[in-house]
Assembly symmetry: C2
Homo-oligomer: 241 residues x 2
DNA sequence: CCTGTCATATTGTATGTCAATCAGGCAAAG
DNA sequence: CTTTGCCTGATTGACATACAATATGACAGG
């Protein structure tokens, strides 16, 4: 029996076994994903109190299920549970955001290096294709469309890097800075730089140059971080003092 | 109010507020840690079925608590939950172990770099002190004592690296390869190399040389991985085929 | 104004229940 | 004798409820 601790692989296998019942995601997963999306998407404000009852009503689930989902999000750092007071949407300080970006840079560098040295030709072709679409985007592309393309790029990169754990570690980090990414990506003129930076990643990958790909990924994240942190600092400074 | 999503900081603050009630860890945490330790320590064999009832009896807790703990461990990859069949202790394949070591190398490199460039003099002194103890260890030191010293070294390194997220990402990885580390660390002659490799990390840190520290950390993990993977391959090959 | 006490609300934990599903055994058909 | 189908027992998924522990806020008293 396949007992790898790989959730996605198990889900895939389950889908293979029961190809008809597509909707059959466990309720707990639905609540978890829904809540994660709601928080990452900003439908709850940072610091907002997420009471048990509120979430039960919202998702139509029992306390048991809601609480399990909240625990998961707590482990991811999206919410913060205080004993006997409940869950609160976590704040994101400038320091924390900087630390997350630092980590993201290291992880994506690893992914880039792995992809450059281990990806198959088919995977490289997919990445090439997505990069071509990214390059062809008009300057005034909306943030949604831009984020979607970038997500596809990273999905392929992570899938082909030969180390699924990288994606598993990165996911919770990205969910915490999702809003930040959305706002910073839409900064005027950022797209041009993005394309150039990702282009260097792509070029290193075409050369099978692992270290160069790692370095290019790190560089890209570092620049994105600079833009994002500027936005975050501008948001927080006038409010707090 | 302090609502950082930093579990340890919150725990610290709680400990400050209630300095007397040291034992007052939530029941859920006790079960979670106990189960994690039991699995990481090998008291359950890989593939073993961890039934709800069994765990309830073992920890004297209710299903609610046990299930929440199991979910957490599932997210960490220590156990693997199959719908309507329950939790099983996850296997660790050679590939997975290699991937975990790769990730660990990247994370510890980041920690080393951060420590070299950002740690305070007091933190450097603590690290220096621990390294001195490590160097003075006799060749035939038991694996327990060796692991303990190394753990202290990394605790200080991670605490002083200026990025608490690194420690949070590393912890679940380490718990999955704990047994592997224990066996590979006790390989004959490994201590000598360990001291030399960690010495290079220490030297780079004393020079405030971030990149060198990163590289030394990466190198150390890579060598440890080589030893550990050899052990794992030797364990699995004769059993499986 | 400060302090101590109490009532209320919320969470932490435990328990019982029902439905869904899986594993294994048993019997009948080929 | 093998295979197929069904049935039963066991286990988990989800829910509702109940009780204990604790934090919050109000209120009375100094």
């Amino acid at each position: 029996m396949d007992l790898r601790a790989d959730g996605q692989a198990l889900a895939d296998r389950a889908a293979m076994d029961h190809p008809l019942r597509v909707v059959a995601q466990p309720l707990r997963r639905q609540v978890e994903d829904g809540l994660r999306a709601a928080i990452a998407g900003g439908r709850f404000a940072p610091g907002e109190h997420l009471s048990d009852r509120l979430l039960c009503d919202l998702f139509g689930a029992s306390r048991t299920v809601v609480r399990e989902a909240v625990r998961l999000l707590e482990a991811e750092g999206l919410v913060c549970v205080l004993p006997h007071r409940g869950a609160f949407v976590a704040f994101l300080s400038v320091e924390e955001a900087a630390q997350i970006y630092e980590l993201r840079a290291a992880l994506e560098a690893l992914a880039g290096e792995g992809f450059a040295t281990r990806a198959s030709e088919a995977e490289r072709a997919m990445l090439r294709d997505i990069f071509k679409k990214l390059s062809a985007l008009p300057q005034d592309t909306g943030r949604e469309a831009l984020l979607a393309i970038k997500r596809r790029f990273y999905d392929v990169l992570l899938a082909g890097c030969g180390n699924p754990f990288v994606a598993r570690m990165l996911a919770p980090l990205l969910s915490r800075i999702l809003r930040l990414r959305a706002t910073s990506l839409s900064a005027p003129g950022r797209l041009r730089h993005t394309v150039a930076e990702v282009g260097r990643v792509m070029a290193a990958i075409e050369r099978r140059d692992g270290p160069a790909a790692a370095s290019a990924c790190r560089e890209h994240v570092a620049r994105a971080a600079k833009a994002a942190l500027a936005v975050l600092a501008a948001q927080q400074t006038p409010r707090r003092r």
